[in-house]
């Protein structure tokens, strides 16, 4: 198992390097321009100077290697310095800087992480907590009214896009009823009971919208997996032994059914860090998803490059985690 993990980890290095190069090429080839969003009153000569000052005058391979150096060497060193308080070298090194804010991209990401983790992360947890019981019950009482309603709701969750449900919620609960704020306040700090309640209120709508989507997906997986297991011979054996129905379903069937679901959940975790581009935009949560979309709109290549690459790293890592989890949970699966 350890050897397997190590082998996989070593193999991810060339994969990730390749991915970073492809992302860089794609961004470079895309017809986009960091000065494209500036007012028209700024003349072309000045635009050209701006492009040169951003480093766009250099050939592509130089720019790629520079980014690699900044991202793989300078940024980790900086993090190390901040964490340990050591000083390595003269402490003056080029960092990956966003073109629109001129500040280090890593600092921007660190600033955005809390709201993304709170809102998108919490919605993922809530979604799973809703999905598992629904999946279990739907499978146990297949084709009952509960199963039919569950299926219907998850179809809605699957097929209605978040930019629709999000705006619908705002119109109903913010404009109509005035229960929740339509704009997320990222400067809000939880210090006492009232501010905690406010935090809950401002998180309620985005969390619900995202949780609906997550729950829809996972409850279908849970239901299918439960159905597979309920018809297995070991379930009949357990019942024949005289175990209570509760023990049969919640201990024997549920545990076995969770194996594939857990891997699905693990594979979905990178999406949490990726933020929810549309939902964050609708509720003005301004997390990582919104950072990415403003970067794309403004042709802020260092920002987009760094963010997409971090997402790629997370996806590769959580794929590995899912594989390992599968091995740990299911004794029948062994990697050698």
């Amino acid at each position: 198992m350890f050897n397997y993990t190590l082998r996989r980890l070593i193999f991810t290095v060339p994969v990730l390097l390749f991915i970073s190069f492809i992302i860089f090429l794609l961004l470079d080839l895309a017809p986009n321009d960091p000065t494209g969003n500036l007012p028209m009153t700024i003349p072309p000569e000045v635009r050209e100077k701006i492009r040169v000052s951003l480093g766009l005058g250099e050939p592509i391979h130089i720019r790629y290697l520079l980014w690699c150096k900044q991202f793989f060497i300078n940024e980790p060193l900086n993090i190390l310095e901040q964490v340990t308080g050591w000083t390595i070298g003269d402490g003056e090194r080029l960092r990956v800087r966003s073109w629109s804010t001129r500040s280090p991209v890593v600092d921007l990401i660190v600033e955005r992480l809390p709201q993304t983790l709170w809102v998108v992360g919490l919605s993922y947890v809530v979604g799973i907590l809703i999905a598992v019981p629904i999946g279990v019950l739907s499978a146990y009482r297949q084709y009952s009214w509960f199963d039919q309603i569950g299926t219907f709701i998850s179809m809605i969750g699957f097929s209605v896009p978040t930019f629709f449900t999000g705006v619908l919620m705002i119109v109903v609960f913010s404009v109509g009823l005035g229960w929740f704020p339509s704009i997320y306040d990222t400067t809000h700090e939880v210090t006492n009971w009232e501010s905690f309640i406010y935090q809950l209120r401002q998180m309620a709508m985005p969390v619900f919208v995202l949780a609906l989507y997550t729950a829809a997906q996972i409850s279908r997986f849970m239901r299918a997996s439960m159905l597979d297991n309920l018809n297995q011979d070991y379930v009949r054996t357990a019942r024949a032994k005289g175990l209570t129905e509760k023990t049969v379903v919640l201990v024997h069937v549920l545990r076995n059914s969770l194996i594939p679901v857990v891997t699905v959940i693990a594979l979905g975790v990178p999406q949490v860090f990726g933020g929810a581009i549309i939902t964050e935009q609708v509720f003005k949560v301004n997390g990582l998803g919104q950072l990415l979309i403003t970067g794309i709109q403004g042709a802020d290549i260092p920002l987009v490059q760094t963010l997409t690459f971090i997402f790629a790293v997370l996806i590769v890592l959580f794929n590995l985690v899912a594989d390992i989890l599968y091995g740990l949970l299911d004794p029948r699966v062994r990697y050698e």
Binding site: T35, G36, P39, R97, S103, P181
Partner: protein
């Protein structure tokens, strides 16, 4: 009833006579501003984006700026220098500003002429990538004569010397703070760029890039009674519709910028009664650029260049006039812009001394007349209803950027043009590509590989000289200048160029205005472009917010120090 009205009267009297005496800095609490494009940086020299410039204008200020009537007013100086008062030298080679005594930066140090001179050096540094460099064009040097006097020397006579340190794009930054941030170091000064010291009514308390800025009242602001608000939250993100909703429907925010959404929806939101919508007009004219050169793909590299030869039919004045007369600008304004749009027949629409009345024929749509013009010019309808002459069909490729309002406008214009026998093919290109200036893309507005294209342009401030220079022969985009330049119609007229040169050596607002009018009329009458709509900027504000004087010439937040909350 009587008592209430008496009290109201007394309150109104108090408000009109003694606001300054009664008001106290910060007495109106908190203000929420929403810009749907989030602020990236507080240094307008490193980002020319409107939202960044507006946010920065709350903190850092220019020496002089434009008020809501387009008049130049002294801001950090005692008076506007003119030739008459000796502030501008008789040879027009320099301008001398006298700084108001006693001004303080938000860190309590003195505001001096050194700071002003430093700002010029900061922006003019060749390695800095300064985005407001045009403000300093023809500036030779800026010297601090004494702590309160600063002199700008130009390299040639400058009849309109109000470029440097005038308006929101050219504020003064503090030398002590930015001393180590010059040239290539400029982008590395994150802390300075996010929270510059300023002379304005507010200072930055917390800055979250591309998200939200928190401001607090500047304790060293020159007027002890201002600003009215103690703190300001400047939130960004979302879209225009959501911003309008937050001000007009839910009331979460007090002020929202640039609400360019469907006018019908905007009117419905306003009907909720929580806030109002206002528009300001300057020179943002949505116009059709007419390609006077041949865009035919057969010409390969000579496409849409003077070398490629004249356009097969758009060089015929009758065709251009018919195209213009067939358009119902009133409907376009109503459908696309609501009260943020006014029909116009000129490319220079303001201030009054610049505005021509010679082209108003086009204000009224007249399809019959357009048909008659084409008939008389010998363009006759074929079997398919499309007019042609000598084997040339009136078939137009009409391009613009992707934007719901622009696509509606395109569709309407297409319908009207079909009525007069002109075949129209529509095309839209993503704004980032269309305006992006990528050399390798065939779809940029500079390459103009189409017959007609539509977009908006404007000039900052009130002086049109630089703007009018856009249509001189030397400004035509072509392969040898990497398709740079703003002369999209490829208009080239020696008389026009001569008049522009004359403008560059004439001083006096009214006299210059007369020349601008003549230039405008030449462009209109020779068909370089077909103006459609004068576009205002729409904002929404809460009913309780008072003191807003919406300014199309400068930052919308130019007088935020005077904003108050109705009690």
């Amino acid at each position: 009833m009587k008592l209430t009205s008496g009290l109201l009267g007394a309150a109104a009297l108090a408000a009109s006579t003694g606001t300054a005496a009664l008001a106290e800095r910060g007495s109106d609490g908190h203000l929420n501003i929403l810009y749907w494009q989030a602020v990236s940086i507080m240094n307008p020299f490193l980002s020319g984006g409107t939202k960044d410039v507006h946010a920065a204008s709350m903190v850092i200020e220019p020496l002089a700026r434009y008020d809501d009537g387009g008049q130049l007013i002294p801001w950090l100086v005692t008076e506007i220098p003119t030739v008459e008062n000796g502030g501008i030298s008789a040879d027009l080679m320099s301008i001398t500003w006298k700084i108001t005594p006693g001004l303080k930066w938000s860190d309590e140090s003195d505001f001096t002429a050194d700071d002003v001179a430093f700002t010029a050096g900061y922006c003019m540094n060749p390695d800095g990538g300064c985005q407001q460099l045009t403000k300093f064009s023809d500036v030779d040097s800026v010297e601090a004569l004494d702590p309160l006097t600063v002199k700008v020397n130009f390299s040639k006579p400058k009849p309109f010397p109000y470029g440097p340190f005038v308006g929101m794009e050219s504020p003064v930054i503090q030398k002590a703070q930015f001393e180590n941030c010059v040239g290539a170091n400029a982008p590395n000064c994150t802390a300075e760029n996010f929270a510059p010291h300023g002379t304005g009514p507010f200072r930055v308390a917390d800055f979250k890039a591309n998200d939200v800025v928190s401001f607090e009242a500047n304790p060293h602001y020159r007027d002890a009674a201002k600003p009215g608000f103690a703190t300001v939250t400047f939130k960004g993100g979302g879209d225009a519709a959501a911003a309008a909703r937050a001000v007009l429907e839910t009331g979460e925010f007090d002020y929202a910028w640039n609400l360019q959404i469907d006018p019908v929806i905007l009117a419905q939101m306003e009907a909720a009664g929580r806030g109002k919508v206002a528009a300001a007009f300057s020179n943002s004219v949505e116009r059709l650029m007419v390609n006077l050169t041949n865009p035919s793909p057969d010409l390969a590299d000579a496409r849409s260049t003077l070398e490629g030869g004249p356009h097969p039919f758009l060089t015929d004045p009758a065709v251009r006039r018919a195209l213009s007369v067939a358009i119902d600008r009133g409907t376009l304004a109503e459908v696309g812009y609501g009260f943020a749009g006014q029909p116009t027949c000129n490319v220079v629409t303001a201030p009054d001394y610049n505005m021509s009345t010679a082209n108003d024929e086009c204000l009224v749509q007249d399809v019959a007349k357009a048909n008659q013009i084409l008939d008389e010019a010998g363009w006759s309808r074929g079997a398919d209803g499309v007019r042609s002459k000598d084997g040339v069909r009136l078939s137009i490729l009409f391009q613009t950027s992707t934007n719901a309002v622009r696509q509606d406008t395109q569709a309407l214009i297409k319908a009207w043009w079909e009525e007069i026998g002109v075949e129209t093919e529509l095309k839209n290109v993503d704004a980032a590509v269309f305006f992006g200036g990528d050399q390798s893309s065939p779809d940029t507005y500079q390459k103009f590989y189409a017959d007609i294209e539509m977009y908006t342009n404007l000039f900052p401030g009130t002086d049109a000289e630089t703007y009018m220079t856009n249509w001189t022969c030397g400004e035509i985009p072509n392969p040898s200048n990497n398709w740079l330049g703003f002369n999209m119609p490829r208009y080239c007229n020696p008389n026009y160029d001569a008049l522009v040169t004359k403008l560059a050596s004439t001083s006096g607002t009214e006299t210059r205005g007369e020349i601008v009018k003549q230039l405008n009329d030449m462009l209109m009458q020779e068909g370089a472009m077909i103006p459609l709509i004068n576009r205002g900027t729409t904002i929404g504000h809460a009913n309780s917010l008072e003191g807003i004087r919406l300014n199309a010439w400068d930052s919308h937040l130019w007088n935020i120090a005077d904003w108050t909350r109705a009690k």
